[in-house]
Every structure is written in structure tokens, then in C-alpha cells.
């Protein structure tokens, strides 16, 4: 059992848990994730490690309620426990001194970008961060990202905070201003990551994305998370989750993510939280 030692409600659907998981807290590195299972009937859900405190033995998990399991998770309170956390999983981010690095977080993708930005800065890089969301209330980790970055840009689709537009608009401007960019790291919705890849592709700026396909075990035994990278099929859980954005087949990833939508709706209707998800 893994105890929720702190809970923060970041928005009506975005929640943050600090979980007691000493062994994972001791070992994890930026870029890695865990698989959780709430109870005996639960499914295995991958969540990125948004932060960790090695002294306290906790890891921070942040999630958006998008379906039955995440909504069930969101109803849990401080002091309650979940059944399983396995990890840390996946390969850590390659952190080294490169020069100027752009860290981009879209929506709750900002959470996993934060420990990466922090580590990039600690490694001696100049870190420019861009965080974006649909609207101001959905922005998260603003203060954390400010502390981890040399420069921080904020965008909202509706202009309710920061620059009106997309993270890619700011990225284009940085490139036009002839900033010499050693690497771009982007985590967020697939459409955003694909957009970032298209912006940097003509300039051959090394670009890394963290992929979020459907997973079951998270240890390389099923291939449910396979993605096409270059001309090869890769398992995101063991070969990734980070890949060269210019090699990723984003369209297949988007299609595969939708595989269970009709069943996910059924799961919601059948009392696993009674959520309002997938209603158009």
C-alpha cells in the first residue's frame, strides 16, 4: 500500500499527490514514470514523476481527471492509500551541459517538464521555458518553472494570461531571434508535441518529446505502448518514453491512443466515478 501524504487540488480536474514511496524516491531521475493501480479491480495507469523528495521518501504525481480511473483517484484524500506503485520506469532524460535549452510544457505536461528544467539548469545550461494552457486556470507549476528557468514565457489559447496563442508561437520567435538553441524538450498533448517537432524540423534543432501511449505493464513485456520511431517499432516504456521528435510517427500514436475510447465511456457509465468525460 502507498499512502497519500499530501493532496493539492490545482484545478477542478487537476490534482497533485505526494505519495510515500521511499525506494522510488531514492532511485528516480527526471524523465521517469511509475505505474499505479488503485485497488484490486483497478487498471494499471502510467503517471510521470513530477517531482521527488529523497529525504522525505515521497514522489509527486499529478494527473488530470480524464476517465474512470483518474476520477476515482481524484476522490481519494490525504491519508488514504492506493494498492500499487511500480517504478521508477523508463529511461531518465539525458541531462548534460549543452548551452541554451528550451523546455516546453503543455497543460499538465508542465509537471514532468519541471524536474527536467531544474536538472538542465543545475547541469549549467541556460534554460528558457515556455508553458502553455487553454486558459489561465489550467496553468500549473508557474512558480516552480520560474525558479527552474532563466527565462519563462507563458501562453494561453484565449489570452487570459501571458501571450495569447500557442507555445509554438513563442518557440518560432525564439528561433527567429536567432537564439542558438542546443535542444528543445517538449511534453504535453500529442498535437502540441507534433507542432513543436514541425517548428524545429527545418532548423534541425535537436528536439526531444516524451510520449504517452497506452500502457499495461510498463516493463517491456506486452508491446501495448509501441510507437513507430524512424522505421522501427519501439516500446515507449523501455526504449523511451523520450524519443527524437523528428523521428516519431505522431499520427499512429494519436490513433492508438483512441483505441479504447468507446470502452472508456462504458467504464465511466458503470459507476467507476460516474464521470462526465467523453461527453461532447
Amino acid at each position: 500500500m502507498f499512502k497519500i501524504v499530501a493532496k493539492k487540488v490545482l484545478s477542478p480536474t487537476v490534482k497533485q499527490f505526494a505519495m510515500a514511496a521511499p525506494q522510488i524516491a531514492k532511485k528516480c531521475q527526471p524523465g521517469q514514470f511509475v505505474i499505479i493501480r488503485i485497488d484490486d479491480e483497478g487498471e494499471r495507469v502510467p503517471l510521470t514523476i513530477a517531482d521527488f523528495d529523497r529525504d522525505k521518501g515521497t514522489i509527486t504525481l499529478l494527473f488530470q481527471e480524464v476517465g474512470a480511473s483518474t476520477q476515482q483517484l481524484g476522490q481519494l484524500e490525504e491519508g488514504e492509500s492506493i494498492l500499487d506503485i511500480a517504478g521508477p520506469l523508463g529511461n531518465p532524460t539525458h541531462i548534460k551541459k549543452m548551452g541554451t535549452v528550451v523546455c516546453i510544457g503543455g497543460g499538465i505536461g508542465t509537471a514532468p517538464v519541471y524536474p527536467i528544467a531544474r536538472a538542465m539548469k543545475a547541469a549549467g545550461n541556460r534554460v528558457i521555458s515556455i508553458i502553455g494552457a487553454r486558459t489561465a486556470e489550467l496553468l500549473i507549476f508557474e512558480d516552480e518553472m520560474k525558479n527552474a528557468s532563466d527565462e519563462l514565457y507563458i501562453t494561453t489559447d484565449d489570452g487570459s494570461k501571458g501571450i495569447k496563442g500557442f507555445v509554438t508561437d513563442v518557440l518560432k520567435r525564439l528561433i527567429d531571434d536567432e537564439e542558438k538553441l542546443a535542444e528543445v524538450m517538449a511534453i504535453g498533448p500529442v498535437v502540441m508535441m507534433r507542432g513543436v517537432a514541425e517548428v524545429t524540423r527545418p532548423y534541425k534543432i535537436p528536439t526531444v518529446v516524451s510520449l504517452n501511449p497506452i500502457m499495461v505493464d510498463g516493463t517491456g513485456m506486452c508491446g501495448g505502448c509501441r510507437v513507430a520511431v524512424g522505421n522501427e517499432s519501439k516500446f515507449a516504456c523501455v526504449d523511451g518514453p523520450e524519443f527524437d521528435a523528428h523521428q516519431v510517427d505522431f499520427d499512429t500514436l494519436i490513433a492508438r491512443q483512441k483505441m479504447y475510447i468507446p470502452l472508456e465511456k462504458k467504464s465511466c457509465e458503470n459507476g467507476r466515478g460516474g464521470c462526465k468525460c467523453h461527453q461532447s
Binding site: 493501480r37 487498471e43 511500480a86 516493463t219 517491456g220 506486452c222 492508438r256 470502452l263 462504458k266 467504464s267
Partner: protein, 465 residues
């Protein structure tokens, strides 16, 4: 001597009924049948049956106890050799092992050794069995076992009986390995697996789940920081192979590992009561001819598929699946498309709509001694299916090998270990089961676990001196 030349039949669920449920297919012997079957054993002095058993169960002895109605003694005898008799009685390919060597097999059918083993184990479970923890010294040496599959469970049980402090590290949330995620409920009920594992815990074995070696801990950390003095690696062959044909990333294409894990370990057949979903196809093609392929095809039927096909590029003679499994699959309505080789998974709007195949004929024998399938020109056709399951084999997961220095592997990525002892290229590290041999059987993995446990005992005794 008994004139009965055939094994007593074991009752089974009716094929039409069982093809729609996940309950166990075979129902086991009742007391009278078990006694009658036990009477068939001639108690040969040489007991040739034993040489066919990888863990050398004293077969005539436990059968004698059944004859005498001493069920406690029967299970005690079995358990002194085999920690998982309820499992082995169900899933061992006895026709290639103990029963192959039975003298009765020369003129008729062998004694139903597997069925009797199962009967004894089930009897013990249903009537309650007492397991007493062996004596363990306060300063007992610590042994780490990696992987809670058949190899690891056997090694752990034997080492605990020898007085070592054993911890099993398991990556998934439930111990059992392929017994939990791979072999379906209808062949091996999961409650039985967990019951046998809980008996192991009563021997003092500690099982740490959600622990991925190579990530949560490395082997060197276990040895250098966590106080373990020897390690047994039994991580199996869990990395699924794909055919590398076009269309394999379409929605509706599964590895057999994923399909079976969703269904067995995650209980997707109870969706939405269980939260894990599974795509139930109307028409399902399973590519491959082994036991895993049979399991997947039979599972698809039970989930509600109207048609379930085995697509195999050779003929039935070359199929690696057990005869009994093929027979059960046919009875339930699985259709066999033999001498058929998949070329491409075809789809529309990112979903599978068919499997484009080519007809084959058998040519000359290849390196494996099996006749090589050769394409028949112009024989292409498309099988109309909406789910495709790849059951063409598994390889070793590279996580441990890539995070442990000095651990030698062969070109396939399997760990190189001595056949008799499981000793790897690193002192104190032993390995056995599918991680060494490639995908094989439950009982061979258990045999390897047993040999390694004996070798670890020897190593630790020498170390202590």
C-alpha cells in the same frame, strides 16, 4: 495386475458450454476414479517415470499413498520435491515427461500421473493443509530471487526449506509470472496459483511486488547495499516478438502477451467490473502454432468472438502446441488456417479489417528438422478479421543484462548459465528458466530453479567457511 489399458477419463465441461465461460475446462478426478487410476501403477522398482520429471518427484511413492488412502502423506511426498503440484498436475506436458517413460505406455496408456498429482494437491487444498516454517538461524544468509515465476518460486521454496532468508522481487503487482498473466483462468485458476504461493510465504519466503530489478534496484545494489549474498535470476522470456510486417501498429493488433495479460492478470473479461478494457473482436486471427497461440484463440472465443482462427505457416504435424490443447481448441470451435503465412495487416481508419496471407506448401527439412514452408505463387488472399494477435514467441527482456556489469549473454540476449548449477559469469549470481533457455515449459523452469537452489546452497556454505 491391472488389465485396464487406458487412463481413467477426467471429466470436462461440455465444449459448447465452456467455450463461453472462463471456468476451468477439466474438472479433476473424484475419489473413486483417483483410487482406480492409482491402482494401475505397477510400482516398478526402477521407476522410469521419475527420470522424465525435471524435479524428480517420487512418483511411485505418492501414488502408493493415494492407494493407501493416506492423502496427507501423498501431499507431503509431492511437496518435498515440488512446491507447486496443483500447477504442475495441470500444465505440465506429461506425455513428453513422466508419462512418456511409464512402462504401461508401451502397450497402452501410461498411468495418469499428472491427474493424480493434481488430485492430491487439490485434496490437500480443499481439506486444509498445514505448512510449518522451517528452522531459520538469526544470522541466516540472505538470498534474492528475481522474478516470481515457476523458476523463482521453486528456487525460493527450496532455499527457504534449507534455512536461508529469501526475498523474491517481482515486477508486476502479483507473483506467479506466466502462471498469472499468461496461462488462462480456464486452464489454471488463479486462486489455485495464489494458494500455492501463499504456502510458499508460510515457509518464510518474502515477496516484494512492484519491484523492477534494473530500475527499482540493480543486482549490484542488492549484493553491495542490501545484504544479499547470492542472487537467482528467473525473469523469464517476456519480451514479445512481432512479425515486422506492415500494419502491425494498427488498432486491434495485440501481442499475445498483452492480450493474455489484459485478460488473465487484469481480468478484462470482467470489464467493466474490472477497470482494464480489451477489444473483443468479431473475427480474430491468432498468428502462431504454440500453446500461447491456443490460449489466445480460446480466450478470444470466450470473450465473445464469433470466429477465432489459428493462422500457422506450417502444417499441424509441426505445431509446437500440446496435442491436448489443439484438441480442446478444435472442440471449442477454433478454426485452423494451416500452411498460411501473414504478409500484412490491412486496415481502414486506423483499425484492423483483415490479414493478408499467402498459402504455403512444405518443402525440404530445415535446420530445426521441420519441413520448411514455401510460398505458393499467386495464392494471396485476405482473411476478414478485426483483431490480430501475434503469438510467434518471446525473447528475454534486456533490463537486467543491460544494468548488470559482467553478466554474459548469448547472441539472443539469454543469460549464459551452467546447465547443472545455473552459475553465471559472475560469482554469486545464478540464473535459470526461460531467461537462460528461451521460452520453454513451466516444469523445466522449475527444474532449473531446483538445481540452482542446490548450487546456491553449496556456494553459500563454502562462502561461510
Amino acid at each position: 495386475m491391472s488389465p485396464v489399458m487406458k487412463k481413467h477419463a477426467m471429466p470436462e465441461q461440455d465444449p459448447k458450454v465452456r467455450a463461453k465461460n472462463f471456468n476451468e475446462v477439466t474438472l479433476g478426478y473424484g475419489e473413486d476414479t483417483a483410487l482406480a487410476e492409482a491402482q494401475r501403477c505397477l510400482h516398478c522398482k526402477t521407476a522410469p517415470c521419475r527420470q522424465g520429471c525435471p524435479v524428480e518427484v517420487n512418483i511411485p511413492e505418492f501414488i502408493q499413498h493415494i492407494k493407501d488412502g493416506q492423502m496427507d502423506e501423498a501431499i507431503k511426498s509431492l511437496k518435498s520435491y515440488n512446491s507447486l503440484p496443483a500447477v504442475c498436475g495441470r500444465v505440465c506436458p506429461q506425455e513428453e515427461q513422466c508419462e512418456k517413460h511409464c512402462v504401461l505406455a508401451k502397450k497402452g496408456e501410461s498411468v495418469g500421473i499428472g491427474r493424480l498429482e493434481r488430485y492430491a494437491a487439490d485434496y490437500a487444498r480443499e481439506h486444509g493443509e498445514t505448512v510449518t516454517a522451517p528452522q531459520r538461524a538469526a544470522n541466516a544468509q540472505k538470498v534474492a530471487v528475481i522474478g516470481a515465476g515457476p523458476a523463482g518460486l521453486t528456487a525460493a521454496g527450496d532455499l527457504a526449506k534449507l534455512g536461508y532468508a529469501v526475498t523474491i522481487f517481482e515486477a508486476l503487482h502479483a507473483p506467479g509470472g506466466v502462471l498469472m498473466y499468461g496461462i488462462p483462468e480456464f486452464r489454471l485458476p488463479k486462486a489455485i496459483v495464489q494458494q500455492e504461493i501463499s504456502n510458499l510465504k508460510k515457509l518464510g519466503v518474502v515477496i516484494e511486488v512492484n519491484a523492477i530489478i534494473g530500475r527499482t534496484y540493480t543486482i549490484d545494489e542488492l549484493l553491495d547495499e542490501e545484504g544479499f549474498e547470492a542472487v537467482f535470476i528467473g525473469t523469464g522470456a517476456g519480451l514479445p516478438h512481432f512479425l515486422q510486417i506492415p500494419g502491425e501498429n494498427l488498432n486491434g493488433v495485440y501481442s499475445a502477451n498483452e492480450f493474455l495479460t489484459r485478460c488473465n492478470l487484469m481480468k478484462a473479461y470482467q470489464f467493466p467490473k474490472a477497470a482494464t478494457p480489451i477489444k473483443v473482436g468479431h473475427k480474430v486471427a491468432v498468428v502462431g502454432g504454440g500453446n500461447v497461440a491456443m490460449d489466445a484463440a480460446r480466450t478470444a472465443l470466450r470473450l465473445g468472438a464469433e470466429e477465432s482462427y489459428i493462422v500457422y505457416r506450417r502444417s499441424e504435424t509441426e505445431m509446437p502446441a500440446r496435442l491436448e490443447e489443439v484438441h480442446h481448441a478444435k472442440e471449442e470451435g477454433v478454426q485452423f488456417r494451416l500452411l498460411t503465412n501473414p504478409l500484412e495487416v490491412v486496415g481502414k481508419d486506423s483499425w484492423v479489417t483483415g490479414l493478408r496471407c499467402m498459402k504455403m506448401e512444405l518443402g525440404e527439412p530445415d535446420a530445426s528438422g521441420r519441413r520448411r514452408p514455401v510460398e505458393i505463387a499467386g495464392s494471396e488472399f485476405t482473411l476478414d478479421v478485426d483483431v490480430v494477435i501475434m503469438a510467434i514467441g518471446q525473447g528475454p527482456n534486456p533490463l537486467i543484462q543491460s544494468t548488470t556489469k559482467g553478466l554474459d549473454t548469448n547472441k539472443r540476449g539469454n543469460i549464459i548459465a551452467d546447465e547443472e548449477t545455473g552459475q553465471t559469469s559472475r560469482p554469486g549470481i545464478f540464473a535459470g528458466g526461460d531467461i537462460v533457455t528461451g521460452a520453454a515449459t513451466v516444469i523445466l523452469a522449475m527444474g532449473a530453479g531446483k538445481k540452482s537452489a542446490a548450487a546456491i546452497d553449496k556456494y553459500l556454505q563454502e562462502k561461510r567457511q
